[in-house]
Each structure stands twice: as C-alpha cells, then as structure tokens.
Symmetry: C2
Subunit: 337 residues, 2 copies
DNA sequence: CGGTGAAACACAACCGGTTACATCAGATAC
DNA sequence: GTATCTGATGTAACCGGTTGTGTTTCACCG
C-alpha cells in the first residue's frame, strides 16, 4: 500500500496529530519539527488521502460547476476563468452539465449528486426559473450565480439592461430609426439576460422617441442557426429594418449569414450589433458590446472560495456587476436613406 | 447532522452491512429486505457519504480530465462528449487544465493533484513529449488519450495522416499544383496531430508527383490570429500558392481574414481547406475534413469507464481510430491558370 | 432424522485522516 | 521556590461507510 500519515509520523518520531498540523500549516507546531516533518513527508513521497481528510474534516475541498452547455463559447469561456481560480486555490472542480450536449435528453438532475460531495456550487447562466436551479439552491449550500441574478443569492453579471441600451443607442446615434431585434427565446420569464437586454433596447428606443415595431422582433435562440432564421424573417418583411440588434454575437453571426444570402452586406446595407465579444467577432468585423466573460467566472469563483474560507463569517450577499464596452467595427454605419 | 447508514439500518432493523449491500445492488440480500431498505432510505432522504465510501472502498468514482485549453472549440467539444458519458456513468468529472508553453500561467503540474484522488485519467491532446503528460502517465493509473497516440497507452484519435492526405488530395484533384500549408508550431516532435497531418500532406503531394515548396509552409499555432499571420506570410511571397491547406479550421478562419485583407476571396482567388468541422466552418463556407470531435471524447470516456468497471481483467490496450469526412464547400474550387 | 450447504444477515475490523482534550516541559510571575 | 501560563505534542474518539469472516436459518437429501 501507499504511505500513510502514520508512516510519516513514525519516521519523524511524532504523532499523526502533529504531522497533520505540521503539513497543513496550523499553529502550535515547532518550526524545526514542522520542517523536519515536511522533509520526511517529501522524502517518503507522502500524499494525503483526500477521502480520509474529507471524511474526518467534513470539507470536500471541491466546488461544482453547473452549466447548461459546455461546448458553447460563453460557457466554456466562463468555465476557463473558474478553473483557473479554483486551480490556484487548490480546489477540485466538478463539472456537471444539465442537458446533454446534442439534445434534450432527460438526465438525472444535478442536485442529488451534489449533496455531501462539494462545499459550494457555481451556476452558469441557468434561466432564473429553471427547476434544476432551484433544486440546487434548495440544498442551501454556498452558491454563486454567473450571468443570472436572483434575490438573496450572490451573483456576478454584467448590466444586461445597460448592454441593451448601449447597443441600441449606438444604432440610434448612427441615425437609424427602424431597428430590429433578435432576441433569445420567447419566454415571459423575467430577469434572463435576453429579457434584460430587451428592456434596455426598449428604454433606448423610448428615450429616443422611437417606436418598437413588434413585427421587427425575432427569436434566435442564442444559436447561429437561430440567428440566421431570425434575420431571414426580418429581411423577408414588407418593410425590413435598417439596423438590427442581436442579443448575442453568435446570433449576429447567423444574421450575417442570412444577410449575405440575400445579397446584403453587414455595415453597408444593414447595420448589425451584437453582445458578447466573441472570439470571432473581431474576425467577422462585428460591432459588439463586449462583456468580460472570463472575468465573470473568475470573480464568481474567487468570491465563492473566499466565502468558503471565511470561518462562519456571514459574507454579505452581494451581486457584482462587471462593466461592458462597446467596440465599434465595420458591421455598423450611419443610416443612409 | 445528516442521516447516516446507521440510521437507515436501525430504521430497517438490519445491520449497516446489509444496508450497504442492499443499496448497492450486491447479491445475497433478500428481495423483500432490499426493497424495504430502499424505501426507508428514500423516506429518510438518505444520501451516501462519498468520502466515507471512497475511504472504505478505495475507489473514488471520479475521473480527471486534463486539457491544455478549456475555452477552445476542439477542447470544449471533446469535453462535452466526455461529460455526457461520465454523467451517465455516475462518475465525477474533475477538470484540470495544464499550463502550456505559450500560456504564461505557471501553475503546479496536475500529476500530484491526481494521486489518490481519481480512478482514471483522460488526457486531451497534450503534445506527446509534454513533460506533464509523462508525469501523469508515470502515475500508472488507468488512462486514455484523446487526440494523441503513444505506445502502450489506449487512445482515441482520427487518422491524422489520412486527414492530411484527404485535404491535400482534394486540392490536387481540383488541379492545384502550387499548394501552401499552414501548420501548427515549428516542433520536431513526432506524432503530434499537425505533424501527422503534415505527413499526409507530403504523401499526397509526393504521390501526385508534386514538390513541397518549403517556402510555402507557414506556422499558424492553431489560432485564428496565427492563421491570419501565416496566410499573410504566404500571400506576400513572390509566388503565392493557388491553394492552401490549413491544419485546423480556426487557422483557416484566420487565413480567410488575411485573404480578404488582400482583396482575395476564398474559393475564387485561392482555394482553402481546413480540418476539424468547426461550428463556424459551415457558416464561413469553408471546405474541411470533419472529425467527430465530440465522439472522440465520448468514446474515450466510455472505454475508460469500461476498463474501470471490468474487475482486474486486463483490457487490451487498443487505440481507436474514428473516421473523418471531407465536406466540400465554397472555399475550394478548380484551379484556373 | 441427522447431515449438508447455501442464502441471508450480523459482527467488527478496517480505510486514513482530523481534532477536542489531556499532558508535559519550560518560561514567567510573584 | 512554587503557582501559573503557554506553546508543543500525544491520546484517542470520531468521520461514515465497506467487506472478510462468522453465525443462523432452513430447504434438501440420503
């Protein structure tokens, strides 16, 4: 078998308790003793047993990340931010997605698989009314949300209303008045990202005294294909918009494709603005409201780790809002009648 | 505190041993007894303690996934395949990314963090000579590689030589003779994906009696930006190629951008073929050799789970090769002098 | 009807740490 | 010189399961 703490203790001529304290940096250990124990442990190539440590201490040293998608840009980028922080904090990252990658297959919900298994949970952009989300919250363990806000739960997001406003205002400033919008899904649930961005859109329109034409709203489901369909729908109207606000870059990509199919060029014939700052947006010359996606994950993870490390101290529930930035590229241009 | 197996045992009037066997479906438990125990456990909302179970049994029920990148398309797509399988197998997925030569992050290597912590390891496309990879292999635990092959280690890949051949042959079939290539990094390490694809490229060229012009080889580092630079280098030659084989779709995207910057149109002025089947390749009308990326992860995970479940039986080390498929789109066209 | 064996279950020894509490030596205080 | 305190360390009771080794029951057989 492998080396146990007992072996180290014997080799160092101390008790396992002292070894445990010495290796974990606890106080009340003589500096010399600690050093000797560390040396011996290294020599013996001793590795602590996480299972035993967890069982005895009650802490698992791991955090679950729950996400609806793994392979989509936004989610994998958030995940990379989270991972980097957890790695530095020496915490294990348990990855769980709540839907199968290809389809809507029914798999067992994550909540039961979390109990007694992790110290905290990070949830990426699940709809605020999602049942699985609430099952997770019902576990009542330290949790942080990313990309969603919910009362009394810590969260890290951008100001989606503002993002919608900024994007829309940009189009308005360029002189556009007939502005279309490609939203996510036709849900009436409040507070989702697309809902908020839509509110920002409306506010900007209203503030400018412009009408929101309901026939210029189309659903893109946050996918490229969806964005393409949505844009096609807008273009085949009797009176198409001169500018379009797509609520995600990926939908904007789809929209660009639809425009090309119709012989139109983004920025020349129709202005298009997205939200995200997707890797490809620069490549495709898309004007977009950039959000610091990796930081969303990073900061949420940092906050959670901090909370787990602060002994009992009731960390105040705060929702952190990160800034966005409009990057103007070739896909938007002044309105020409 | 929460319910323990003892509570269930008492409530059912049996020993903890019987509860343990009953709930895990082991034999030698009366059908009636088992049912009763299951019912009582459910009523009590009993959840087994993973730590205790792991400590006692020696199995962790979790698998580590080691990857150089999380947010890149190939890696996150593989990961999604892996996750789906592990979820179905009720195994925990520990995600760890490793620092890479180009990534400046100096973080502790994954190998030490694996010991006693997971039952098996899945490694995604680490260079075959990577030190961290070999540290992981030295742990001598069940391991499967994805996107790399190494002697005596199970792996799941595509035939990269063949992929290179197919892509190149496609260009040759179209009548191109002056063919450039955008490879990954200037390494002399054998057996990496780009090395193999390059070999396929050479083989196809040789078989067709064409010369491989070393000045038409450029490094794209598997990134969009790198592909753009590489293509720019090719275009600014005194005698540019009429067709280019980019060893990944993302580098091909960059190449497309470079072409546009030079007023050239992919498929009309210069033919371009990639490898991957990236989500955006259809959108950008890129001809590419599609590899089943998600299946790579899925199948590797399935094999590993199977190995872990087969009791001691020496599963033969086999490297699985998945098929690729050339998808011809608008970025390639016949050579016109 | 005693012998036999298998099925069903109980006992208890682990698995390998953590930590409250006890102990002990040396320093400080008086 | 003794009482007191403090820092360093040992003792041992857990943490909550798993599993090898009995023990009991009972059907089956000669």
């Amino acid at each position: 078998m492998s080396i146990t703490i007992k072996d180290v203790a014997d080799a160092a001529g101390v008790s396992t308790a002292t070894v445990s304290r010495a290796l974990r940096g606890l106080p009340n250990v003589d500096a010399g003793t600690r050093e000797r124990i560390q040396r011996i442990a290294a020599e013996l190539d001793y590795v602590i047993s996480p299972s035993a440590s967890r069982l005895a201490s009650g802490r698992t040293g791991s955090i679950a990340v729950i996400t609806p998608y793994i392979a989509r840009w936004f989610f994998s980028t958030v995940l990379s931010g989270v991972e980097s922080v957890l790695q530095d904090a020496s915490m294990d990252l348990l990855l769980m997605s709540v839907s199968t990658p290809d389809g809507q297959q029914h798999r067992l919900p994550p909540a039961p698989r979390l109990r007694r298994r992790v110290d905290g949970v990070l949830v990426i952009a699940l709809p605020p009314h999602d049942q699985q989300l609430h099952e997770v919250l019902a576990l009542n363990m330290p949790t942080s949300l990313i990309g969603v806000t919910l009362a009394d739960i810590p969260s890290v997001t951008i100001d989606d209303v503002l993002a919608g406003q900024i994007a829309t205002q940009h189009l308005i400033n360029l002189g556009h008045t007939r502005i279309g919008v490609i939203t996510g899904a036709p849900v009436e649930e409040p507070f989702t990202a697309d809902h908020d961005r839509h509110r920002g859109f409306q506010q900007a329109m209203n503030a400018a005294g412009l009408t929101v034409d309901p026939t210029l709203e189309s659903y893109g489901y946050f996918t490229i294909a969806g964005g393409e369909q949505a844009m096609t729908a807008l273009l085949t109207q009797r009176n198409p918009p001169s500018a379009v606000f797509a609520m995600s870059d990926e939908m904007a990509f789809g929209a660009m494709k639809a425009m090309r199919s119709h012989g139109l060029q983004p920025g020349r014939d129709i202005s298009l603005v997205g939200v995200d700052g997707h890797d490809m947006s620069e490549f495709l010359d898309l004007t977009t409201v950039v959000q610091p996606v990796q930081d969303l994950g990073r900061i949420a993870a940092e906050a959670l780790v901090l909370q787990l490390r602060s002994p009992g101290a009731e960390v105040e529930v705060d929702s952190i809002i990160l800034p966005t930035q409009l990057i103007v590229r070739g896909s938007t241009s002044p309105y020409k009648a």
